[in-house]
Symmetry: C2
């Protein structure tokens, strides 16, 4: 019998379709041409030697005269860095001028790496860049929310090979944030506890869906995972805004994120994926009810008309099985 | 300057990224191998001659001894047709047994057609099958919502070539429905008018985003379209539940749907797409605030980490331009 499970935060239902269930190894990606990339590609705008192509560099981590991580403006930004935030009402329509910040984090000088294959130190540098830009960008009074995300692979929406992630700072609180926050407030008002802290406590007790535990973070498959190998990394400490993470936490997150991504890389043969950091809108720094976290969505299944028509997802892999599979993946020591 | 526009029903924001804007013809799909399908494929389970493969046939339209449209159970259903609806609460988790109906509408005996290339009469038969199954399935007291949808092409989530659509009847009201209904009620309580009727009235007045008008339906690009060529077909008459459509309305919808899909087919070279019918949960038949409609989502762009992280969409085509482009597409008379 299939089972419907509800996401505790978004209230969305996922259908666990036992009739269509696949074993975790059935999600292993077939080898593709072009899987071997060169370490350096002379015409890649993110490769060393082409630094001038992208102009201003709001942040950079250097090691002597070589850079390790660079933040640059997006060459084709979705939002305009200059201009005023203007809100208009036209009949039933609501419009806001598209001001905001859209930047690219070039994660490593090497063209052929991905965080799964980088050193923990490299991944820590990426996270430090995220935090620094978050701290700086939130000072802009036009900004309401900061979305940090990574697209890896073509089905995850990128055609750029060089390892990179993005920051989009937007002039409005997305409706999706409002929905999550409303639910979190409702739970807090009802119980006096943060729903995320509660969720984490339950997961640690049951252990069934845990993929990795570290000093400051826990990686697990959500109970109502929308798709196979959908993963959450929660900080153990109740922190609402990502930029409030300490140095020790970022160092530990680098280990956790790298290890989880390496488990996906080696276990599923470099699947396409997205990840995003879910943080509180920038007007707030600390709340009792909201807890930031990182969500990873491997692109091992496709959403179709049913998902569009219902907002529900059909998942062909039980979270407990995916978690077991990932726990068992050994990764090489770099 | 980019522009953010808010969907009046879902309250989701779309970013119209003028820096990345594409002309409508840039979305024309390149030719693919395998674009020419055979009219009959002996090993296709939906082709005539293989009727026994799928078992029971809850509905069929015949023409002499040939069928025109068949409804069959899904061979790999996401939901189980037998069993009780049981709701469980386990700590913070909510679970419902996965009972429901999951059927396939085989749209035509021919393997190589798609509604864009069918006669209006053929499309009318498909719509009659949708309505009949909707009417029958809603009698099942375990069912809360009926989702009718079509996946066309691989990026829209199907690998089956034979023209078909699906009905999924689910034992819970999806959270997405609740959100839309709450907004519609709020608008009705505030103004005494259905938000969809109001939206339609405004679109007809402005004409900027209209693609096609027929006696009973209007096809237009939403003001805050989430993706290029995202389309809505609204009935002019205020009807909450799809199965309340009259014969005259279905005949006219057949013309409208076929024509719009043909405009996409000829204008964009057979793009992959999904469509879905958005109707009210089955416990209700008529309300003052909800108005059913059909939504078409061509898969001409990819959603990535930004969309996952914000619930917002980046659209690289202005709705007014997409509408103009589609209005201008001539389709051959069959």
């Amino acid at each position: 019998m299939p089972e419907l499970r509800q996401n505790v935060i978004t209230k969305d239902w996922a259908i666990f379709a036992t009739e269509r269930a696949k074993r975790p190894h059935e999600f292993i990606r077939p080898d593709r041409q072009n899987d071997r990339l060169p370490a350096h590609k002379p015409d890649c705008p993110f490769c060393p030697g082409n630094e001038d192509f992208l102009g201003a560099e709001p942040f950079c981590i250097r090691d002597g005269d070589r850079w390790r991580v660079r933040v640059v403006p997006n060459k084709y930004p979705a939002l305009s860095a200059t201009g005023e935030r203007i809100r208009k009402v036209e009949g039933i329509h609501r419009i806001i001028s598209g001001v905001g910040i859209h930047e690219v984090i070039v994660e490593h000088p090497r063209h052929d790496l991905t965080p799964a294959l980088m050193s923990i130190e490299d991944v820590r540098n990426i996270l430090i860049a995220y935090r620094q830009r978050y701290i700086d960008i939130r000072k802009d009074p036009r900004i309401e929310a900061i979305v940090i995300f990574k697209n890896h692979g073509e089905s995850a929406g990128t055609s750029i090979e060089h390892p990179h992630s993005q920051i989009a700072a937007i002039p409005v609180v997305p409706h999706q944030f409002r929905v999550r926050i409303d639910e979190a407030i409702r739970y807090f008002d009802d119980t006096g506890e943060c729903i995320f802290c509660r969720n984490l406590r339950d997961e640690l007790e049951s252990q069934e869906r845990i993929v990795l535990e570290s000093e400051h973070f826990v990686a697990f498959i959500p109970y109502a995972a929308l798709s196979p190998f959908h993963l959450w990394i929660y900080p153990r400490r109740h922190v609402s805004s990502f930029d409030q993470s300490t140095d020790a936490e970022l160092a530990d997150l680098a280990y956790t994120l790298k290890t989880v991504l390496a488990k996906l890389y080696y276990g599923l043969n470099n699947p396409d994926f997205n990840y995003t950091i879910r943080s509180i809108p920038t007007d707030e720094t600390y709340t009792d009810y909201f807890h930031w976290y990182l969500a990873i969505v491997p692109r091992v299944s496709k959403s179709a008309g049913f998902e569009i028509g219902s907002g529900m997802y059909i998942n062909t892999s039980m979270p407990e099985d995916s978690a077991q599979f990932l726990r068992d993946v050994d990764i090489p020591v770099l």
